[in-house]
Each structure stands twice: as structure tokens, then as C-alpha cells.
Point group: D2
Chain length 249, copies 4
């Protein structure tokens, strides 16, 4: 029976993690450990400058006080599982998609990245679309989990999965995709606090991504589940060759 | 005269950012905007769920209350520079190296990543070795900045620079490198607070990286300045091809 | 049917607030609004430098993200109750006592203090003793609530109630008390983090209070429920007279 | 030569603490230890659930990372002074007054309260009025410090001092006062974040206090330095007698 280590970045109380937890339980043991608050936008943060506390929520269900998704994977693996690797790390289901460059800010993706750093097959799950039915989405996630368990994945990769918020029978299938590019402009709103001192709020004009075929966005836009294999190596090898020629000559 | 936008993740008061600021001023105008506290390990976090405040420290020198390096780049670009792109985003000088997979947690690298996302050439600077002389290190960083300004770099890349903590004339030169791999094992210390409740501290056995030729660690270990071109695209293209064959068949 | 506004400082998920909520429901409508994390030791903090978010937990049950007990009372009164005063503000049940000068650090007492500032009769509840049965303690608290509703209290006071962790039939009755004095010495532990940098932990040698008759500690130590009426006026009138003579002469 | 322990709640970088530090140095040794960020409204918070870090700013000048004024007094006394009591604890100069019930939220007053809890004569300083000249205000504060050192104060009290933002020669003298009462109504602004989710901001209609003779507000309003002796005992003795009669009968 497989063992799953489950986290998210929306907080342990979120609908998405609860729905995924229930589905995963159909397949095996699920150790859930998630932040005690919403950490959207927190990226791949790890708390190594202060000690952490855990609080038990329920059987095999814990929350880390002030912890990040990466912290949760660490404590789940080294403390709750006592260093015994789970079969799969799952992160999510995030409310809202993780597409294009935005995944660099994503706590959800960061949970799966941490699993990969620790040498464990890992998948991040997010939902694309308004008012998702998380139970329905979780069933689709379980289909992906089954594929990972049956067919495996290369050792140096982890997966970023985005599921359209559609009834399961309206989803057109899975698509292996590459990371897309966002096509929106960020901006900073200038506001005033009640004492008329300036405040700045980072936001976006309107979210959107380039509709290029083969990308994560293209897939979910057309009703497919997008599965993007990611890597820990951020090296730009093409630029590396160019710089070697132009800088070191 | 070039305009620089400078941030870091150690806080606006750190020696590293002050030394780099002084050096950059020799070349152009330097807008410094940095977090008001040490944010090491914060990764690529962006604050979009709350408004931010800035506090003026000095001429062209600001701090963002509770802000991350990515927040600082945003406010620097959209507010201080009013949306006019600087010639270069610099992040650092970080106290301690940013090598191998550890860069995924790095606030310093995240500052440069944010510059790249906003379409600006960007460089992250870190120092490798004990008790660095930041003035000396900053002079080496300036040499890199000059190369970037003179020779340029490909549009889809940003640079992760690690400088050995050596006198400038003992440095053996620059080396264009790829991201290495860490060779240390993390662990979680189990402690007790004064009330005997359990605490967990994420740490490492002993830091270290694989000494493979061509990597960032190999370069600094041998006394070279390591310059690693990075990219925003995290897609694992090799795994993508494999998954297309094995999963979609 | 009376309306209660209930908060605490241990977090909305704590056993103490849940037990008190269930008991209060027997008497009237209970609006519960509490911090989303444990804020012990936070004192009388009010968040006026940033906006706050609420999250609905259940019917008439809310949590304030990053909010303090005083924030909760504000949002409960002005937002949930739309400015209509509840009949009683309750804060607690705190896990651990609030006795002597320690109440100046108490988030639990601060919740009741805020109710008093807003002009509402208010009571803080804490439990003295190990391994309390919160259901049992909550029943004793309800007895106090009934006395407040029936007999009233002076307009310029709010109550600090400490309940011994005893079966209800072993409690010797109620005692109106004055604030005692602590008889323990604080200290600061000097520790090292895993990188051998110094850390300081504020703690106490051993908790304890002066066993003077008529004090809060004397009451709970002897098995009574301690009820201490408190005031918002911190003026030391005796010292005021002395200073008028010695300083202004 | 007297030893002063100085903190504040606006952060170690604030003008008020720097001005007071320079003045106090004329009289003796000044150990300054203050929060690394603005903590206005934090009340009497003490951090006993996590360890703290200090960072040296300058000679006899430290900041506590994430620390409160009460934390600073603890670390100053037990660590920097190694448990040897200073002659006086000073807190401030706070930008803005601390009058009436508002002092219960005041981090500045809390710094002095903590000194008193530790058995040390303690004074909190705040300024009333717009655009204060902190050097001028600090000179007035030094006059109060001299009086405390010369004339002493009762053992069970600490002082809350509010200085009008006037040139020193326009100040009409000192006045020993009692705590006043605020005469403003708080409110909660209902806002929306950029994603149109509700936010709540606690603020006040317009600040103001009752102009009763003998109060802190009356004094500063009329150009006097207000000196209010405070106490740690929050017991409402009048209410205590009433409750004894009405509740215990």
C-alpha cells in the first residue's frame, strides 16, 4: 500500500487539500502536513533560521505553525515518517492555476520541488477556472497519481499538474506540456492608509498567458489536464554556450 | 550614465549591499531598495495579498517594510523609477554562496529572477568563503557588471555570480558554469523549548557540493568567479519527451 | 436571548474556546471570532497599520488572519454585529492561568479589556492547573456568565476569571479577589542555533505567585474560582499625591 | 555615572530614540536596544514561544530581530547588562502621544512597564503634536530624567511622560497628571483588495481626548509636560467592594 506525503500552500484547512486527502486515502496511507495559514506567493521558502512547531489536527494530519510548504515536506519526511521516503509527495490542490513563469512564485509547486530535492517522486496540483468542485477535481488528480504509480517518471523530474475546473467527463484527456509564458502586465497600485500615508499593492492588469500550442496554458484552455515535467537545474545551457564564446574569448 | 536597481535578501543594513552600492556609484546612478530585515531562505516570494510600505533611508536608498527581494524590485521599477527600466538589476552581495539546487531557496537569486521576469538584464551576487572583505568582493562584482554592460547577455537569461572570498589579485579569473549539485544531507534537529514542548530545526549535516568540473562549485572551489546563466523556463525537456512516449502511448 | 461575542488568544481551533462556545450557546447566540494562530503573550495589541482579512469557519464562527484578540473584538463588534453591542464579551478559556502582573502580557485579558474600552461588559476566562477538562471548566465559566447577566457589574470594570482545573463539585465557590504578585524570577537562556550563532530565549525559573490572602492566586490555589475586577485606568493615585508633593514643591 | 537602558517601539532607526540617546549620553552610559521594525500598537507583548536574535548596530547599540519593547528590556537587562540593574529604563521618544486608555496598546509605555516589572525605575516618553523637533523634545525629556534621578519616585510606580511639540522655552512646565479618557469613536473601514475580496481596517474617526482638568491630555493641550505615574496593579478596588457586597451576599 503506497504512502503519500501531502502538503499545500493555502493552509491545512483549505478545501483543496481536504478533497485530495480523501481521494488519496482510497489508494494508501496519507500523511498530511500543511501550513497553518495561507501562504500563496511564498515561493520556495525554507525556514532554517528558527525552530518550528507542529500541531496535530487529526490522525496523520498535522500543521506546522508559521511553516512553509517546503518546511512541511521536511518535517513530514524527517519527523513524521522518520526519514523513510514516502512513495509520492503531493502538493495541492491549489485554488487557482500555476502556469508559465508564475510557478516560480508558487508555494504549491515549491512543495513538489522540495520532494524532488529530497529524492522523492513529486507532483503539484492546481485547478484552472472559477468555482471549482474540488471533489471532482480531486478525482482527476487521483487519475494522475495512478499513472505516476503505474508508469513512473524520470528520476530528475517532478510534475506540475493543472486541472481544468470541469466535470470529469468533460475533460478532454491529459497532455504533456512545456511551461508557457505569461502575457499580462503587472502593476503597482498606489493607495493611502487611513492616516494618508502611502501604500503600494503589487497586482496585475488582468491575468493571462500566451496561447502557444504545447504549453501548460494551451492545454487547460482547451480542456486538457496539463502535466508539465519540471527540473531543479535552472541553467540556461544555450546562454551558457553563447557566453562561453562571447565573454571568455 | 547607466541606472542600476539594487536589492538583496540580507536586509538594507547589510555590509554586502552597502559595499556593492558604493562600487556601482562609480559607474552610474544606483537606486537601492531592500528588505527591512534578513530574509535568507525566502525564495521567490511576492507579496500580493497585502499592501506594502516603503521607508526612505537616504538619497536613492529605500527599504520595504516586511518586503521580499521580489517586492523590492517591483516597487523600485514601478514606483521609484516610475516604470522606466533600469539598465541592470543587481541583487546582493549575499553573505554566503548560492550554489547548486540551493539557489531555488535563495532570496538573492530571486531578486535577479524578478528583474528578468520584468524584462531587465539581472545579476545576483554572492560570496563564497569565510570572513569576506566586502569592499574587495564588491570590486570583483563591478568587473562583472562592466562585462555585462559591454558584452551584453542573451535576452532570456539572468546571471548567478559567486565570488570567492579572496583578495582580488588572487582570483584566477571568470568561469561560465552550470548549476552544480549539493552533496550534503539535510536533517531535522529535535529540540525542546523551555516548557519541554517539541521544536524542530531544519539544518544540514555539513554543507558541500559535488566537485564536478564545469559547475558553479568547482569554479569557486578553485578560486574562479563562477558565472551561471539561468533561465525562467523550468521545463525538463528530456523528461517531456520520455513522458510523451510512455504516458501518452 | 443574550448575544455573546467570544474570542481568545490561543487560536480559533483551541479546545478552550470550543468548550466555552458550546456552553454559551445554551444561553443565547454566540458570535465567535478568534485569531487564526496562537498569540499567547501578545498583550493588548491592535492592528491599525495594515488591513485585516476574515475567514468564515462555520455559522457565527470566524477567524481573523494574523489578527489579535483586540482586533477580533473590533471586527466582531463593528463588522459581524454591525455596531450593535453584544450583551457580553467573553475571552477564553485560556489554557493556563492569568494571575498577578502576568495579566499585562495576556492576550486573553486583552480581549476583555477591548470589550470594556468599547463599552461592553466583558469577562476573561483562564484555567489554573494541569490537564484541564475544558468541558467541566466551561460549565463553571457559564455559572459566572449567569451571575454577570443576573447581578450585573459596575460600568467601569471588566472581570478576570481564573478557574481551578477541578471537577465542578470539588470547586469551593467564587471569590472576589485583587490582582496578586508573581514570585518567580525570569531569566534569559543563552542558546546556539545550528550554525552556532547566539540565540536568547526569555523564560522563567519556575512559575509561582505570592500566596497572599485575598489575591487571585490565593483563591485558585485553595480551590476557589477567582474573580478579579479590573480597570482601564492605570494611574497610581498614591504615587500621584507623593509626586505632587515632592516634585512640584 | 548612571547607566540607562533605552528602548522604543518605533524601531531602532527612528529619530526619537536617536535624539534621546544623544541627550542621555550627556549624563551617563546608554545601552540602547530596540526592535528592528516599527511595532506601534503592539502593547505589552513578550516573546516566550520562540528564541530571539540580537544584531549589533553600534557601540552599546543593539536591535532585536522581531523583538518587542518588552523583549528588548529583557535582553538588555539579562544579557547586555548581565543581570546588573541599570539606574533607569527609558522608552521612546514615541512619535505621537500616549494618552488616556490608548496607553494600553502602547509599545512605548510597555517598555517602561517591563522595566517596572523587573524592579527598575522606568519612564516612557512620547511627543504630542505635529512635526516635532526631536532634539528639542529630547532636551525636555532629559530634564525629566534629571528630576527622576534627583528626587526619585515611589517604588511601585513608573512614569508615562508626554511632551508637547513646542520649543523648550514655550513649554509651561511640568504637571503631575492622571490618565485621561479618549473621546473619539473607532470604526472599521470596509475595503476591497485588488481581487475584490473584503478587507477591514481598524481606524478612528478623529483622535481626541476628554479635556478634563488634571488629566494627561489637559496638560499637553495647555502646553505642559504631562507626567502620569502608573501602576502594575490593574485591580478596580471600588468595583471589588461592590462585587463583594452584591455577588457574595
Amino acid at each position: 500500500m503506497p504512502v503519500f506525503l501531502l502538503t499545500n500552500d493555502d493552509g491545512y484547512f483549505s478545501e483543496g487539500i481536504k478533497a485530495l486527502r480523501e481521494e488519496l486515502k482510497k489508494l494508501g496511507r496519507v500523511i498530511t502536513i500543511a501550513p497553518d495559514r495561507n501562504l500563496s506567493g511564498v515561493g520556495h521558502s525554507l525556514t532554517f533560521t528558527a525552530p518550528l512547531r507542529m500541531r496535530r489536527v487529526d490522525d496523520d494530519f498535522w500543521t506546522v505553525i508559521g511553516g512553509t510548504p517546503a518546511d512541511c515536506i521536511h518535517l513530514g519526511y524527517y519527523v513524521l515518517l522518520d526519514g523513510k521516503a514516502p512513495d509520492l509527495v503531493c502538493s495541492g490542490i491549489n485554488e487557482g492555476p500555476n502556469l508559465g513563469e508564475d510557478i516560480t512564485y508558487s508555494g504549491t509547486v515549491s512543495g513538489a520541488m522540495e520532494g524532488r530535492i529530497l529524492g522523492i517522486p513529486s507532483v503539484a496540483f492546481s485547478v484552472f477556472g472559477e468555482n471549482p468542485d474540488f471533489k471532482e477535481v480531486a478525482r482527476v488528480c487521483l487519475d494522475v497519481v495512478k499513472m505516476v504509480l503505474e508508469k513512473g517518471m524520470p528520476e530528475d523530474t517532478y510534475l506540475n499538474v493543472n486541472v481544468p475546473a470541469l466535470p470529469r467527463d468533460e475533460i478532454r484527456g491529459f497532455m504533456i506540456t512545456r511551461q508557457g509564458r505569461r502575457a499580462y502586465v503587472e502593476k503597482v497600485l498606489k493607495l493611502s492608509d487611513p492616516a494618508r500615508k502611502p501604500l503600494y499593492w503589487i497586482t496585475a492588469e488582468k491575468f493571462g498567458w500566451s496561447l502557444e500550442e504545447g504549453t501548460d496554458y494551451w492545454a487547460v484552455y482547451h480542456g486538457y489536464v496539463s502535466i508539465t515535467p519540471l527540473q531543479l537545474d535552472l541553467t540556461n545551457y544555450r546562454a551558457l554556450e553563447i557566453l562561453k564564446k562571447t565573454w571568455q574569448a
